[in-house]
Symmetry: C2
Subunit: 203 residues, 2 copies
């Protein structure tokens, strides 16, 4: 199999950190987003939506969408589990993965994509007012996480899960979105330093 990857962009990196946490190595093909290679005829044939990452299986089957790729590897290699094993673990991790994705990851992305001049050719139309409206949403999500992390080591409990990975990637991306973590969110800061110190964070 081959993973079509796009460097430091959030979604490709989310898959790489996930694979690093699972201890899985996959051959990577670099796709240059700055040169719009993700929109080339070859890449559109792999994913008509022109997005990366895309996982190509040996029989030519394509799996797009970051979390779908992660779930594929989780199903092939269940341990260490990052999506949970019991019904309650599965539900709790999905709940937090979605809260982090919808309330932090997407608002950070919207703040960046709708306000940064360099994004004007990718995000059409840019709606600056929508970008601005997303900064307070991201801050509210940080407060939500800070509260959860006051009595949880990782977001869903004593072990890391995919929700932590999504949150790490989102926080690593707040600077270009002109968002900062308020100093008083001490539990979130504690967790963020812990996540950044994991070997997977350099993936």
């Amino acid at each position: 199999m081959k993973l079509y990857d796009g460097g430091r962009n959030p979604n490709p990196r989310r898959v790489r950190v996930f694979l690093a946490e699972k201890g899985i190595e996959v051959p990577v093909v670099f796709v240059n987003l700055a040169e719009f290679e993700h929109q080339s005829a070859d890449m559109l044939a792999r994913n008509s939506l022109g997005e990366i990452p895309v996982l190509e299986l040996d029989d030519g089957t394509m799996i797009a969408e970051t979390i779908a790729i992660c779930r594929y590897f989780e199903a092939l290699h269940p341990m260490p589990s990052l999506f949970g094993q019991t019904p309650l673990e599965i539900a709790t991790i999905e709940m937090w993965q979605r809260r982090v994705e919808f309330r932090l990851f997407l608002p950070v992305a919207a703040a960046f994509r709708h306000t940064h001049p360099a994004m004007a050719k990718y995000e059409i139309p840019q709606v600056a007012e929508w970008g601005e409206a997303n900064r307070p949403k991201a801050l509210a999500a940080m407060q939500m996480l800070n509260k959860q992390l006051a009595d949880h080591i990782y977001i869903c409990g004593p072990e890391i899960s995919v929700a932590d990975i999504t949150a790490l990637i989102a926080l690593d991306f707040i600077k270009p979105a002109k968002i900062t973590i308020p100093d008083d969110l001490t539990s979130l800061h504690r967790w963020y330093q812990m996540m950044k110190a994991r070997p997977s964070a350099v993936a």
Copy 2:
């Protein structure tokens, strides 16, 4: 267990259609969104985000987030499977569930919530330009689905999946968002009539 439910709103209905397809009955507590009952102290204690649906287990554990609730029931009652069983099925259904959710369900919701006067007290701030920008996104998603459904009975193959349920709920909601399915998307129309004729659609 108890399901805190909100009538005809899209996310509560998504869980009810899912349960109907699984053949599972769960006691329901109606939460009146029009009277802001989802923001009452009791409901905020169940889900600090003030959103429904919320599933309350017999030991008091709360599961929020529509798809997390669905996954809980899938894990408890695997058949009929709506999230897939093999690694490739799991990945393919997750890919389409996410494509439908991010490219159709959310744009339809944004078009409605950011342009309809009745939504001004729920969506703060309303950004009309963002609402307008989402109508073409929803149309592009319909074209994507029409292409997929040209040679697939359901979105992911011969059997219904959670991706079909998310798409059904989104299309049932396009009228208040002032979006229509173009006449030439014949495969999408064929699928939509088939979905509306299933017993679960009245849930």
